[in-house]
């Protein structure tokens, strides 16, 4: 005979899944707001919400079926039989609540709305082959030349890049708020620190219009600078940009 706690296994599982939902929907946006010192909450994206909830349900089901006893306990809650009044009450709640929940999901998914579509973005567009072998000429130079190129690059960066990317290369330039997709925060270790110098050279030189045809549509407001800046100036901007952001470019590795 299963004890009282086990008889309510289904309810415990549902409660755990409900807690996960509350955490993702309401608690985590507030927690991130505090932790990241933002003036607005950071809502959990709907795609992640869906994935995490699926995993939560799956985890509950895995737990409830790891033994025959637990599985029987899980199902026993749905069967009629003697038990405390609270069980009967929760059963009725479940039989009414579950179809209502499904109905609510169907309604919210099918109701006409004006939301923009979710885009399957990719991190790095494919660097064209002709840019792969390029080397930053200033990286190979002596320390003094490197220092000079960084200084000059910083000036060029503040002149051409600051309006969008910000004076600290943190994506908070004066024009940043006018874009639907804000300029990238280069201080983030997951951005320019993960690519080689020549990747940036390509992105600056060709900009949004030079993005490859695969994985379209792209969402980039980056202008093409090839008509305004010389190659050396672009390389210097790269030197200054990394220094401003306080990160290092990915370096080519020797094969082992």
């Amino acid at each position: 005979m299963a004890n009282k706690r086990n008889t309510f296994l289904l309810i415990w599982v549902l409660t755990a899944v409900g807690c996960l939902f509350v955490f993702l929907k309401y608690a985590s946006p507030k927690i991130f707001q505090v932790l990241m010192a933002k003036d607005h909450p950071m809502p959990t994206p709907s795609t992640l919400m869906m994935w995490y909830m699926i995993m939560g349900v799956l985890a509950g089901l895995v737990y409830a079926t790891t033994s025959n006893q637990k599985f029987a306990d899980l199902l026993s809650f749905l069967l009629p039989g003697s038990g405390p009044i609270i069980k009967s009450f929760l059963q009725k709640m479940l039989f009414v609540g579950f179809p209502v929940l499904v109905g609510w999901f169907v309604y919210t998914w099918s109701i006409p709305g004006a939301a923009s579509p979710v885009e399957l973005r990719i991190q790095h567009p494919t660097l064209p082959q002709e840019f792969e072998k390029l080397e930053n000429p200033f990286r190979q130079k002596d320390e003094e030349t490197q220092r000079k190129s960084i200084e000059e690059g910083k000036i060029l960066f503040q002149t051409y890049c600051r309006p969008c990317h910000g004076s600290k290369a943190d994506g908070n330039g004066p024009f940043a708020n006018s874009f639907r997709l804000r300029p990238i925060n280069f201080q983030d270790p997951g951005t320019i620190a993960t690519v080689v110098d020549n990747y940036l050279f390509w992105r600056i030189k060709e900009g949004g219009p030079g993005l490859p045809s695969e994985s379209t549509p792209w969402d980039s407001a980056m202008p093409s600078w090839k008509d305004d800046l010389k190659d050396d100036e672009i390389w210097m901007i790269i030197m200054g940009e990394y220094d401003t952001a306080g990160v290092m470019p990915r370096q080519r590795e020797k094969l082992e």
Binding site: T44, T66, Q129, N185, A193, T194
Partner: protein
């Protein structure tokens, strides 16, 4: 008498295999001759016109005027005069179509099916021989029977592998003649070796299977049989290494002059930068694949079992299949990570395409599949505890393990770039949501995959302890225990300390090298903890030693390196390579030391009850089936990624794909094709195993008749 009949059948089957090989080899050699004779004439002809010596492999390409700017054949080609068309017919052909069907699709499906069967045929003998040795040394006939059953599946799948290999050869030579001309030009000598080794594989495989009953009775005979199995593995591995050199050459060509295609060094063409990482990754993956396919076979047999004895046998077989699968699955992420890093090293562009570019979403699918594998194997182990009396003492840990594994799974599949709607972007207010910012990068992925591995290992430990009761003090374990622990300790220390010492000598700039120091310290701390765990074991406190080792490993390899990975990413990406090896070494030392401590701590322990083989819920068998399906999908997906990374190149940076199929397929198209391949493979493998069992039924019936005759003869003699 039966053995004689079997021997008589051998030449027939071998002849069948030889025919297959010849059918594969002949066109290969003939076409090579054709290319050899055509190429110089063609080069001379074109060279005379342009005055420039053209690379040999470009001889068949259309001239610039016949191609569109995107490299596609121009529309005007079809409207040429009859004379021109006639000339084109006699000239070398670049591409052909398969009865109007997309050539790439045909090669994709056939090669993937061939690879899947080959993975099974190469993976299973590795553990079949090990199981046979275990049975022979332990004197348990059960293992021997199971090893033979594995080999029965193998011999059934081998002919299908060879057939698919022949078909793949025909498809490649027929549909991509120019590309295969280049490959033959570079690899012709290795192709003969391949064919010869195939003979070796066929002979040793059939010899191994059909001599099973003949070569038993004495230790010498059994060892001879085992050595046949070892030879089979050597031939199989050699074959795989050879074909891997061809496949990896296409990704990271070496040993040739890229502009002319002239071969400078066959050795370097073979030993190209990605050859060894792919070899190691495939070798481990084949064992994993074979284990899970065998597990699924056992599950099907279990579900259809009529007797308790049959159920018990197939339950045990399923357990062994799962054990082999998970055993190989644990080092697989490390091998995969090494391969990934070498892809980045050989070409940063290809690396970016792979992890951050057009193929990044396929890695999210991969993450889901790998997560499902880990959940599946753990779920099976937890269900398996139900058939062990005494497991109740450990089931309390399951809920914590579920929490840890699912939490890791959540981090593991969180992408760096989330699919966001415009409204969500506006609300988040920056490029990355914190979840994707902190969970989406490699530092986090490496940390959680190590934690999943530690959790899976913990599941296995509590599984094997379930049946064990009161322990014998370690001091009473005798010399074997001391030698065992001491050997494991020496091995772990050698691994950790030697790597720590080697890190002192890495050639890096001073400002980057400082980031290596914490890794060295971490390795020394782990070395100390490993020693401490061994010391505690000697003092009869092995459990405390194990707990300490688990805790310190999790703190260093998971928590600290998660944080430190971010630091290194920002400032010194070159150190990431050393960080990941340090992480792996620390986790491996924990697994090895803990496993050895557990073995000797619970040696001679009182048994609480027993394992009731066959007493497994049906859903456990569906878990085994799920594992098989997932690993097949995973192999299909990873095959697509490995091949697709070359984008519009047959041979990356050397020979461009100018056919109309030189584009990267969409995710949905890839999903449909991989799905079709998975269905085809599972259908074929089911059919092949069914055929193998037809023979078994016949043999069983014969054995019944034979036993009846024997019994009748005995009866006559007695009376």
């Amino acid at each position: 008498m039966n053995n004689v009949k079997i021997l008589m059948m051998l030449p027939k089957r071998s002849a069948f295999v030889v025919l297959f090989i010849l059918s594969f080899v002949l066109p290969l050699t003939l076409s090579q001759k054709m290319f050899a004779s055509e190429a110089p004439a063609q080069v001379a002809q074109e060279g005379a016109v342009s005055g420039v010596e053209l690379p040999q492999f470009e001889g068949g390409q259309m001239s610039g005027s016949e191609q569109s700017p995107e490299g596609q054949p121009a529309a005007s080609v079809g409207t040429e005069t009859a004379v021109a068309a006639e000339e084109e017919e006699v000239g070398p052909v670049q591409y052909r179509t398969f009865f109007g069907i997309d050539s790439r699709l045909v090669v994709w499906i056939v090669s993937e099916l061939h690879l899947m069967f080959a993975a099974f045929v190469l993976g299973v003998p590795i553990f079949a021989v090990i199981v046979e040795i275990v049975g022979f040394k332990g004197g348990d006939i059960k293992y021997d029977k199971m090893a033979k059953e594995f080999t029965k599946l193998l011999s059934a799948a081998f002919a299908t592998t060879a057939s698919l290999g022949g078909l793949l050869g025909f498809c490649l030579f027929g549909l991509y003649p120019e590309f295969m001309g280049h490959m033959t030009n570079v690899f012709a000598p290795t192709m003969y070796v391949y064919a010869l080794m195939f003979f070796g594989e066929a002979f040793t495989l059939y010899g191994y299977y059909y001599s099973w009953d003949i070569l038993k009775g004495t230790a010498a005979k059994k060892w001879f049989h085992i050595s046949l199995g070892v030879m089979l593995n050597l031939f199989g591995t050699g074959l795989m290494f050879l074909t891997n050199s061809w496949a990896t050459y296409m990704m990271s060509p070496a040993g040739i002059v890229p502009a002319t295609g002239k071969v400078l060094s066959l050795y370097h063409a073979m030993y190209n930068p990605l050859w060894m990482p792919v070899n190691i990754h495939r070798l481990i993956a084949n064992v994993c694949f074979g284990g899970f396919v065998v597990g699924a076979y056992a599950a099907v047999k279990f579900l259809g079992a009529k007797t308790e004895e049959e159920k018990a046998h197939y339950d045990w077989m399923g357990y062994v299949g799962n054990f082999i699968g998970v055993g190989a699955l644990i080092p697989l992420p490390f091998a995969g990570y090494w391969l990934g890093r070498e892809v980045y090293s050989s070409s940063p562009v290809m690396g970016n395409i792979m992890m951050g570019g057009a193929f990044s979403w396929t890695f999210i699918i991969q993450a889901i599949l790998i997560g499902m594998l880990f959940i599946g194997v753990n779920y099976y182990l937890w269900l398996g505890m139900g058939r062990i009396k005494g497991s109740e003492r450990y089931t309390k840990f399951i809920k914590y393990l579920i929490f840890v594994i699912f939490l890791c799974f959540a981090v593991w599949l969180t992408p760096h770039n989330l699919p966001l709607s415009g409204e969500e972007r506006a609300m988040i207010g920056e490029q990355y949501h914190p979840f994707s910012k902190y969970f989406g990068v490699m530092a986090a992925k490496n940390a959680v995959v190590n934690l999943i591995i530690l959790a899976t290992f913990f599941s296995f430990l509590i599984y094997r302890r379930s049946n064990k009761g009161e322990m014998v003090p370690f001091s009473e374990q005798g010399r074997a225990g001391k030698i065992g622990i001491f050997s494991a300790l020496i091995f772990c220390l050698l691994m950790l300390v030697s790597y720590a010492v080697s890190l002192n000598f890495v050639e890096l700039e001073a400002n980057i090298k400082v980031f290596v120091n914490p890794l060295i310290r971490a390795l020394y701390i782990q070395s100390f903890v490993v020693c401490l765990a061994a010391f505690l074991t000697f003092k009869n406190k092995g459990k405390l030693g194990q707990t300490l080792l688990f805790a310190v490993t999790a703190c260093i390899a998971v928590l600290y390196f998660w944080y430190y990975g971010f630091q290194v990413m920002q400032k010194a990406n070159l150190v990431l390579r050393y960080l990941s090896v340090t992480q792996v070494s620390i986790v491996m030392s924990c697994l090895i030391m803990n496993a050895i401590i557990d073995v000797f701590m619970f040696r001679k322990a009182k048994l609480v009850g027993g394992i009731v083989w066959g007493k497994m819920p049906v859903r456990s068998q569906y878990a085994l089936l799920l594992l098989c399906i997932v690993i097949v999908i995973l192999m299909g997906l990873m095959g697509f990624i490995r091949s697709g990374l070359r984008m519009d190149w047959h041979i990356y940076g050397v020979l461009q794909d100018t056919s109309q199929w030189a584009y990267t397929p969409t995710l949905s198209y890839m999903g449909r094709v991989v799905g079709l391949i998975v269905v085809l493979f599972l259908g074929l493998v089911t059919f092949v195993f069914w055929l193998a069992n037809l023979g078994e039924k016949k043999e069983k019936a014969k054995a019944k008749d034979y036993n009846y005759d024997e019994a009748a003869a005995d009866y006559e003699n007695t009376h």
